[in-house]
């Protein structure tokens, strides 16, 4: 690494296949910190992700959540975290005016959408307790971090353009968590708005805030509710949003930590 600053920071990346996706953990450490010193907190973080997968998987009929749903396991006898997450999902449903609703589909609550962000947040807390000066967890495009790449700097991240998967619509200074929901994961390169599902009112919605599980829930809710829900986010302390409409309109709440947006020439203004 070239030494352009007096700080010597090295980075370690771990990619973990879990929860039906790949979670990327980036650790930033001072040169005095060895990989052995980082290992315990990294192990704890990864264990957290796999525990969440084991307990909340809706694909595995033997998972605790599946058994609760099937009525073969009492909630009272299930791992405590299931009750915790159910409570958090109720909070998210309330805060989103009912737009986030994991109980909306038949076959019991699908908590995996919430759990992915929730588990990534918990994984980050293990890293925060360790010797890494900064870290970022990327759970399938939902991000949460503490610190920054260098002293006094925040991590800067991009938001994928939902209409062009190989470009960005915005640059964001990441204070804690940022979740993006939208249509891009379907793999379509260009989306015809007329073909978009009627129950999806935005091309993509990104929500930043202190907790990734809540950001994820609110971003999902925004995509379904549409731009009118921006006012709801605006009223929530600590949470901000950036949305891309089906007609490529972009709007964001007043406190969104926008570092740049692409203009009509597709160049980024910093």
């Amino acid at each position: 690494m070239k030494a352009a600053t007096s700080e010597t920071i090295w980075t370690m990346r771990r990619e973990e296949e879990v929860m039906g996706t790949v979670v990327v953990l980036d650790l930033y450490a001072d040169s005095s910190v060895t990989s052995d010193a980082l290992a315990p907190s990294l192990r704890a973080a990864i264990h957290e992700l796999h525990e969440a997968d084991r307990i909340f998987s809706t694909y595995d009929p033997a998972s605790a959540l599946s058994r609760v749903g099937a009525g073969t396991l009492d909630l009272a006898n299930a791992p405590r975290v299931i009750s915790d997450v159910l409570e958090l999902c109720r909070d998210a449903r309330e805060l989103s005016d009912g737009w986030f609703n994991p109980w909306g589909l038949a076959g019991g609550a699908d908590l995996m959408g919430y759990v992915k962000g929730w588990a990534a947040q918990r994984a980050l807390e293990h890293l925060r307790a360790g010797p890494a000066r900064a870290a970022m967890v990327n759970a399938s495009g939902d991000l949460v971090c503490y610190g920054g790449p260098r002293t006094g700097e925040l991590f800067r991240v991009g938001i994928v353009d939902p209409f062009r998967s190989d470009s960005l619509v915005a640059l964001v200074d990441l204070h804690a968590a940022l979740a993006t929901s939208g249509t891009f994961e379907r793999g379509t390169h260009l989306i015809d708005p007329s073909a978009a599902r009627a129950d999806l009112r935005l091309a993509s919605a990104s929500v930043s805030g202190p907790d990734l599980g809540m950001c994820d829930a609110l971003a999902t809710a925004l995509c379904v509710a549409g731009e009118e829900m921006l006012a709801v986010i605006e009223s929530l302390a600590g949470y901000e949003a950036f949305i891309v409409g089906l007609g490529e309109t972009r709007q964001w709440t007043t406190g969104f930590a926008l570092a740049g947006v692409t203009d009509d020439n597709l160049s980024v203004t910093m």
Partner: protein
């Protein structure tokens, strides 16, 4: 960095790339390498102004030039293919084309993902994302991307190797 590598961890080659890019230059205005949209004017007419942007955005925006700075050295187009690297699902080799020191194109001439449906679908999703991430990381100095589903250290290692071959 290499001395700290252990079997269970993969060093952040993408991060390394980003760090190098950040030391090289910090242009005030950047052009993302992107597929030209069918109708660019549609964007201009539909970008909505927010009630207010963050103070830092305004401050930075008011001082930034509207054109990218000229290249510091005569531009010459060269390309190299990175070494074939093992990754989670198979092997990958990345080819990079540069104009001077700026990456202009990234392709994946060699990919062996075992051919099973799962790794194929992950790759179909990942390769455009990885390409975009590497290109935008160079130009925008970012550490990650929200909304993109997967990154691969194998991709980044092969890319790094190709750049090293080009002396970048």
């Amino acid at each position: 960095m290499k001395s700290r590598r252990t079997p269970m961890v993969v060093l952040g080659a993408v991060i390394g790339l980003v760090s190098m890019a950040s030391f090289r230059s910090t242009p005030a205005s950047l052009t993302l390498n992107t597929v030209a949209p069918n109708n660019t004017s549609a964007i201009a007419s539909t970008v909505s102004n927010a009630p207010a942007t963050t103070p830092s955005t305004r401050r930075a925006g008011s001082t930034s030039p509207t054109i990218a700075p000229p290249p510091t050295s005569p531009a010459t187009t060269r390309s190299a293919t990175g070494s074939t690297v093992n990754y989670n699902f198979g092997t990958i080799a990345v080819q990079v084309t540069v104009d001077g020191t700026k990456i202009t194109k990234i392709t994946v001439p060699s990919l062996n993902d075992g051919g099973n449906y799962r790794s194929q679908s992950i790759d179909a999703m990942a390769i455009p994302v990885l390409t975009q991430e590497a290109m935008s990381a160079q130009s925008a100095n970012i550490q990650s991307v929200s909304g993109a589903s997967y990154t691969s250290a194998g991709f980044a290692q092969s890319l790094q190797n190709a750049l090293t071959q080009l002396g970048i």
